[in-house]
Each structure stands twice: as structure tokens, then as C-alpha cells.
């Protein structure tokens, strides 16, 4: 166990070098260490690496996916044939780790369960060429592969490299992106659908800083907001593009939608609506929404009382106009704000008491809150 850990650290160091240089460095013991991970999305984290002919190579495969994977290195050009031969093993596949008896298979690491690690050491061929590596677990080989370049020449541009999966002909770091790589604000906004949605439109999607049951809405005037159907209130709003990341639907969905511009409002109250009392967090229930001219009007209950909320942009695109309807309320309604939430408020009715708007039951049947951004940073 101790040894394994020690080796792991070494790999980490070496693989960092690869990632920056795309080239393997020899260790003092003369074996080059290549650390490859199987990661979610039927892919290897590294889709290519380079060694010189005749180099001693220690290749370590770590399975970080939630499925089983193996890794076979094949003769140049033999990847597809080996994948097919593995399929043809049929019911004998599992026992043979999906490794066919074929001269095209040079070396392999058998099937690893999730979280297992195993290594092999071999001498790279004297013959230069591109030696594919591939997972031959049934169904995986079509897209889960990479290339070992045995050469002294530089590898081709990744975008042009026909030896790596098409989805990986981009910056190598994209594969493992998740949330942290969604920062590319310069990315082109692409069409996600067979139609171009016209604002207003919405996605029920995972959003940061909210519950996992949010609704992201894009409005005209380039204003967007995140309304939380789990907690039943408007969480935050931003200006600019709608969702900035292109990977929000990639892979298994372990990602967020990310606001495509600066957040100008963030609710900082315990809950913004109170019926009668002001001292406790009410019970809330989400009921649904209706589309009116494509704007959603949310319907939810606060302490059992029906509330309807329709949110539109200000004409200048610097804020939101929230129209509430609470037709059956019998008590005073408080609309609660926080001085640090980033906006200046006006209302169609009621009386402001410090940061709270007090509405009589009659006033609360329909009222409008105008929120315009103060322009303070850091929300």
C-alpha cells in the first residue's frame, strides 16, 4: 500500500509534465511513467502521449469512472479490428477481460473496477508509428481510445489528429471540465436546439448557489434570473448572456448552468414574503407556472396561501419588475429586502418600513416591485 501511494505521487508529478509539454520524461530508473485515468463519459483523461522508440514505459491506469474499463495497446491501425475481436468473444469476454487473442494486441491492462489502479511496464517498439490504446469493454471501444506516439517528431496539432476521438480534438483539459472550466466567457454562444429560442424562455437546470430545483429564465433586454422551485423565491439575477457554458448538457449532467454575466441582485433574506408574522420562515410549496407571452408566472404557496409572481425586465435592462398576486390573503403581507442585495426598490403600493414593504390584504391582491441595480460589485 505504501509503495502504491508513493508511486502515485510520482505519477502525478510526471503527468503534470506531460500535460504541459505533451511529452514523456525519462526517470532516473529509465522507465517513463504514463498515468492515464478512465473518467466519466467513456474517455481517457489523456488522449495521446509520446515516447521515443525503445523507451521503457510504465503505464498506469486508474479507473475514476463508475463503470469498468480496460486498456489495450494495439498495433498501428488495428484499433477497430481489436474492438471487434473483443466483441466477438461474446460470453467469454468477461473471463478474458475483453482481451482477444490477437497478435494485434501488444500490451494490456485488464478490466479495472471503479477506483482500481493497475500498471504495466513494456518497451516501446523500435518501429515508429501511432499505436492506439483503447478500452474494449463492450460498447466502449467506439469512442474510448487514444494514441501512443512512438516517434521523435512532434505530434500533429490536436485539432487535426485523426488518432484521437473527435470529441477530444479540443484543448485536452475540456474533457474533465465540469464547473471549473466553465469560465471561458469569450466562448461563442451556440445554438443548443433545433430552433433558436426567443427571450423570454427558460430552462429547468442545475444552477449554482441555489437548490437543485431551479428555473433559469432569460428575458428580453439581456436580463436573466434564477428562480428556485425548491425554495420558492427569486435567488439572483444577472445581466448579459444567459448561460455562459457550453457544457451544461454534456456527459452525465454533473455540471451547472452558469450565469453569462455579472450578478446584480442576490436575495439575502431568509424568505422575502411574510403573511402576517415576520419572525419565522414560512412553509412554502411550489405549484407550477403558466406561460403568458412566453413569460412564466410562478404559482406557489406561502403558509398555504396562493401567490403568483410574474417577472419582467425593466426597459433599460438594468433590473426586474416583479408583479405579485396574492388574491386570497387575509393578513398583512410583508415584502422583505436586504440592504446588501444589490438593487434599489420601488413599489406600486404599500408602505416601506426600513427594508420592508408593508401591504394591506387589499394592496397585496396585486402589487409590483421595481428593482434596479445599484451597480455595486461583488454579489
Amino acid at each position: 500500500m505504501h509503495v502504491v501511494l508513493k508511486i502515485k505521487r510520482l505519477f502525478l508529478f510526471v503527468s503534470l509534465l506531460f500535460n504541459s509539454l505533451g511529452l514523456a520524461y525519462s526517470q532516473a530508473d529509465s522507465a517513463v511513467l504514463i498515468a492515464i485515468k478512465a473518467i466519466p463519459g467513456l474517455q481517457f483523461d489523456q488522449v495521446r502521449f509520446q515516447v521515443k522508440p525503445g523507451t521503457r514505459v510504465t503505464l498506469v491506469l486508474t479507473n475514476e469512472d463508475d463503470m469498468s474499463h480496460n486498456l489495450l495497446i494495439t498495433e498501428p491501425g488495428a484499433r477497430e479490428a481489436v474492438v471487434q475481436a473483443a466483441m466477438n468473444l461474446g460470453e467469454n469476454g468477461p473471463k478474458k477481460d475483453y482481451v482477444p487473442d490477437s497478435p494485434n494486441v501488444l500490451w494490456y491492462i485488464p478490466v479495472l473496477l471503479p477506483e482500481q489502479t493497475q500498471s504495466i511496464t513494456f518497451t516501446a517498439p523500435q518501429t515508429t508509428g501511432v499505436y492506439p490504446y483503447v478500452c474494449t469493454y463492450p460498447g466502449h471501444g467506439v469512442i474510448m481510445y487514444g494514441a501512443m506516439y512512438v516517434s521523435t517528431e512532434p505530434m500533429p496539432d490536436l485539432k487535426m489528429d485523426r488518432h484521437v476521438p473527435p470529441s477530444r480534438k479540443v484543448a485536452d483539459s475540456q474533457a474533465n471540465s465540469g464547473v471549473s472550466h466553465a469560465e471561458h466567457t469569450t466562448q461563442a454562444f451556440q445554438t443548443y436546439h433545433p430552433y433558436q429560442p426567443a427571450a423570454p424562455y427558460l430552462y429547468r437546470i442545475f444552477m449554482p448557489d441555489a437548490s437543485p430545483a431551479t428555473i433559469a429564465v432569460h428575458l428580453p433586454q439581456k436580463v436573466s434570473y434564477c428562480w428556485d422551485a425548491g425554495t420558492c423565491y427569486l435567488r439572483y439575477a444577472w445581466q448579459g448572456e444567459f448561460l455562459a457554458n457550453t457544457d451544461q448538457w454534456q456527459g452525465k449532467g454533473d455540471t451547472f448552468g452558469k450565469p453569462g454575466g455579472p450578478i446584480f441582485f442576490r436575495d439575502k433574506t431568509a424568505y422575502p414574503l411574510q403573511m402576517g408574522k415576520t419572525d419565522s420562515k414560512p412553509d412554502v410549496a411550489f405549484i407550477g407556472y403558466k406561460l403568458s407571452e412566453r413569460y412564466p408566472e410562478f404559482h406557489y404557496q406561502v403558509d398555504g396561501i396562493d401567490v403568483y409572481e410574474l417577472i419582467k425586465p425593466t426597459q433599460e435592462g438594468n433590473g426586474l419588475i416583479r408583479t405579485f398576486r396574492i388574491p386570497d390573503v387575509k393578513s398583512t403581507v410583508w415584502f422583505i429586502t436586504h440592504p446588501g442585495d444589490g438593487v434599489v426598490y420601488r413599489s406600486s403600493g404599500g408602505k416601506w418600513v426600513d427594508n420592508r414593504l408593508k401591504l394591506s390584504p387589499k394592496q397585496a391582491r396585486t402589487f409590483t416591485i421595481y428593482m434596479e441595480k445599484k451597480g455595486e460589485p461583488g454579489l
Binding site: 473496477l113 460498447g139 411550489f286 403558466k290
Partner: protein
């Protein structure tokens, strides 16, 4: 012993290779057609169903609900913005129930413009932790109007958010490689009563990506091989039962045994209800999906009343032949259609009014494909096993066509072996106790449609895998599918 097993492998390699040679059948019984998808659609198909008016409604990963008219071959948008819709129950031409990640939603077009304008929560009375693996399945409806939905467990490779919906349980979090249940009712199949109450119904599921009622009103669900699931199963789902994946037990009423993942395996094994049918991994299916019963009364060929299940990892639809033995469902599975233009990723199935079987494909970061295809019966009866039934002494095979007497009565035509799968925390299971089982007697019925096989040993708790040799129809047509796996839970009485 080692030598014997080795010989067995060689036999099977030979047979399997034989089975994959292209047949020269000029007239196929089924034809696969691809549906042209709208340009710009990422057609990871989460749901397909047919509307009363004969149009197809389909849900896709990016939240679109589209309608396809088979007559005009035109796609139109019905609804948008849903979160990973993985199931649709059709209420009418203008109203759908859609299972999405945060809730079961009633989606309606109330102004008649062809697009939905009302989205009403039907239930959100269950937890979501933000873990990517918390997929939701269903709904399917029983004759009393109850709806049933299934909740996937969370993956140890995913996270649990700081803000979750529902009560957070931490007992099963952080167990290496184990799917867990951070919020209620992950790993359960739930019942939603007509008055809107969501009740826990059955526990012990891992990834039940497929719920369905048979024609008699029995609820079945598939699950996916992984931890605690040695090979993918089909379960007959009954109220109050536990089906084997322990994590869900934290939400069992009155649960007081601590972390269920730490219970002795023998105790869990005692508690669990076993699968009606096992799909041997690498042989039959690696990731079975939606079960649908053939209600076409012959429009889809000779298998009316039988069950079809999609498979993600291969271009295959599996057919299941169920029978009730000693009051419990068990039976056999057999490939129904392999390749023939069918893609992988066969996630959702629906019979069209014309009797064709539509298949929606998905990959979603796993092995699979995208798009929609349909399988059409050409009218030519296939040469296939129609049913496989357990007898007191072995099995009775009924064929779709009279068989050629010479090959059908040859003992060597039938190669059985039996094996088991372990119930354990480890991801998947190898076959164990693998043994060849000799056929001691074969007899053919007078109409040459039924073959009775006597086996030297019948033992419950095993999968009996039958590899057919070169059996032919009386017309000389070779049999279409040669491997059948019968899950023997109970002996015939």
C-alpha cells in the same frame, strides 16, 4: 476441472463464432428504419410515447418535448425547458405527464396553439441532492389510476450539494464505490395515489431505468448491473419488498439498523426479493432499459403478449418470456433483434398504432447512440423460439414454425450450462458454479412445434443458459437466435 472448463470455453467460442456469421436469409421478418431527426437537435432520447391521434411525442436531454407526425414526417415543438425528461405518460393529445429531474409535471396546451403553456407540479415530494446520477423514471399507471415512478440512487463519483431538497441522510454517503441514498427516496419505486400522495412502494433499486406494467397489471422494473447487482435483472415489483441494493433502506419506515451498507451480506440476502429474470452480462444485456409488452395482437409478429426490453450497450432488443411458477414470475430472455441496422443506446420503446416498435436512443456519457428508429414486422414469420417453459424434468421449447425433425431431435442441438451470480457490494459479479448440464432426452410434438427436453439436473437459484445448435424450420430456414437464458428460481411442482 480446469481442463474441463477450458474445453467448454473452446466449445462456446466455436458456437459463438458460428452464430455471428452472416445468414443468407433473403427475406427478413423485421426491418429497421431510422427516423430523420430535426437539424440542430441533440437527440439523446429520454422518452417516447404515442398520442391518441397517432403522432409520436418524444423528450430529449436538453429539455425539448417534440412531436413527430409519421404521416407528414414533420417535427413540431410542444414544450421546452424541462430538466432531463426521462418519462412521458400521455393523458391526451394536448396533455402529458412528464417525469423530469425536479418533479413530475403536468404539461398542457390550454390555448390550442400546439405548444404547452401550463406546467403544473404533480409531485415534487422527494429529495434531490444535486448528484448527477439521481435520474427519475416513469411514470406508469395502474388500472386504479395510481402512478409509479422510480428514483435512481446517487453516484459516489458525484457530489451532494450544500443546498439539497429534502432531508439529508449521511449514513450511506462516502462508501467507496457504493451508490447511495442521500435524500428520500433514492433507490425506491414510489406510488402516487390519485389524490396526489407520494408513498414509498418498494426499495432496493440501484438504477431502475425502466418501469412497466404487463398486460395483467403486474409491475416490473429493470435494474443495472453494478454494486450489489451481479448482473442486470428484471424484477416483479411488489409493495413493501426490498430488491437488494441496501442504500435505499435508510428511508424505510422505522429503520434502526444504522448504515444498511454495513449489514452482513447474509442478512441482506435474506431480506431481498430476487429477480424474475437475470440478463447475463456480456451475453444478453449489460444495461437493460424500458420494458414494453406487445399489445399489437399480431401486428408486430408472433410474440403478442410478450415482453421486449431495450439494451444500451449493443444494437439489440431483448425478448422476455415470463411464466408464473409456484406463484412467482420467472422466465427466459433471448435476443429479439441484433444489429440489422439497429443502433446502440436503446433507451425507450413504444408501440405505434400500426404495430411497429419505436426505439429512442441515448448515450448520455455512457455507451449508446442517439436518435429514433422503428422496427417493422414485414409479415414473414421468423424462425425463433416462441416460448421456453419449465417442466418437471427440464424445459419445453415452442417454436414459431414447425421444426426440421432431424436437427430438432438431436441431443447435440441443445447445450445447457448453468451458473449463478454473487450478491455482494462489489461492482458486478462473475459467473460462479459454472457447470454443463446434459440433456438426457428430447422429444418432438406431433405438430413439430414443441420440443421437450429432459435435463440431468434442475436446481433452483441458477441461470440455465441454452445454446442452440443448427436447428432449422421445416422449410430449412435457420433459427434466428440461438442463445436463451432461463432464470430458475423455483422448480415446477
Amino acid at each position: 476441472m480446469k481442463g474441463k472448463l477450458h474445453l467448454l470455453f473452446i466449445t462456446f467460442i466455436a458456437l459463438f463464432t458460428g452464430a455471428t456469421l452472416p445468414t443468407s436469409d433473403p427475406e427478413p421478418s423485421y426491418r429497421v428504419e431510422s427516423i430523420e431527426m430535426p437539424e440542430g437537435l441533440v437527440s439523446e432520447t429520454g422518452a417516447i410515447e404515442f398520442l391518441p391521434d397517432g403522432r409520436l411525442v418524444a423528450g430529449f436531454h436538453r429539455g425539448e418535448i417534440l412531436i413527430y407526425d409519421p404521416k407528414t414526417k414533420q417535427w413540431t415543438l410542444f414544450a421546452e425547458g424541462l430538466h432531463d425528461p426521462l418519462g412521458i405518460l400521455v393523458v391526451s393529445n394536448t396533455e402529458l405527464l412528464i417525469m423530469q429531474r425536479p418533479e413530475l409535471t403536468r404539461v398542457k396546451d390550454t390555448d390550442g396553439d400546439g405548444q404547452a403553456d401550463v406546467y403544473e407540479k404533480v409531485t415534487d415530494d422527494f429529495g434531490i441532492s444535486g448528484n448527477y446520477h439521481e435520474y427519475n423514471y416513469g411514470p406508469v399507471k395502474d388500472t386504479a389510476g395510481n402512478l409509479f415512478v422510480g428514483f435512481n440512487t446517487a453516484s459516489p463519483n458525484g457530489s451532494v450539494w450544500k443546498q439539497v431538497r429534502g432531508r439529508l441522510d449521511t449514513l450511506t454517503i462516502g462508501f467507496k464505490g457504493q451508490m447511495f441514498s442521500p435524500v428520500p427516496y433514492r433507490g425506491w419505486i414510489m406510488k402516487l395515489t390519485p389524490d396526489g400522495t407520494l408513498l414509498p412502494y418498494a426499495s432496493g433499486f440501484r438504477s431502475p431505468n425502466g418501469l412497466g406494467f404487463d398486460l395483467q397489471g403486474n409491475l416490473f422494473a429493470t435494474d443495472n448491473q453494478g454494486d450489489w447487482v451481479g448482473t442486470s435483472p428484471l424484477y416483479h415489483v411488489q409493495e413493501g419488498k426490498f430488491y437488494g441494493h441496501p442504500s435505499s433502506l435508510v428511508w424505510q419506515k422505522g429503520w434502526n439498523k444504522g448504515n444498511p451498507l454495513k449489514l452482513p451480506v447474509a442478512e441482506l440476502d435474506q431480506m431481498r426479493t430476487k429477480a424474475s429474470v437475470l440478463f447475463p452480462h456480456g451475453i444478453m444485456a449489460n444495461s437493460p432499459t424500458q420494458p414494453v409488452w406487445d399489445k399489437t395482437q399480431g401486428k408486430f409478429g408472433p410474440f403478442a403478449g410478450q415482453l421486449f426490453v431495450g439494451e444500451m450497450n449493443q444494437g439489440r432488443i431483448v425478448r422476455v418470456m415470463l411464466e408464473e411458477v409456484g406463484g412467482q414470475w420467472q422466465g427466459a430472455c433471448i435476443p429479439f433483434l441484433d444489429d440489422q441496422g439497429l443502433r446502440k443506446g436503446n433507451n425507450r420503446l413504444a408501440f405505434a398504432p400500426d404495430g411497429s416498435l419505436w426505439v429512442g436512443q441515448n448515450d448520455h456519457g455512457w455507451a449508446g447512440d442517439r436518435g429514433i428508429q422503428r422496427i417493422v414486422f414485414t409479415g414473414k414469420t421468423p424462425m425463433d423460439v416462441y416460448t421456453m417453459k419449465l417442466t418437471n424434468t427440464g424445459f419445453e421449447l415452442t417454436f414459431t414454425q414447425p421444426v426440421d425433425e432431424k436437427s430438432a431431435t438431436d441431443l447435440n442441438t441443445y447445450k445447457f450450462r448453468r451458473y449463478r451470480y454473487a450478491y455482494h457490494a462489489k461492482y458486478g459479479s462473475d459467473q460462479s458454479d459454472v457447470q454443463a448440464v446434459a440433456v438426457t432426452h428430447v422429444s418432438l410434438s406431433a405438430d413439430r412445434r414443441k420440443v421437450s427436453l429432459d435435463l440431468e439436473s434442475l436446481k433452483p437459484g441458477y441461470v440455465y443458459e441454452l445454446q442452440l445448435g443448427d436447428i432449422q424450420a421445416a422449410t430449412g430456414e435457420p433459427i434466428a437466435n440461438k442463445i436463451i437464458c432461463y432464470t430458475l428460481n423455483r422448480l415446477a411442482i
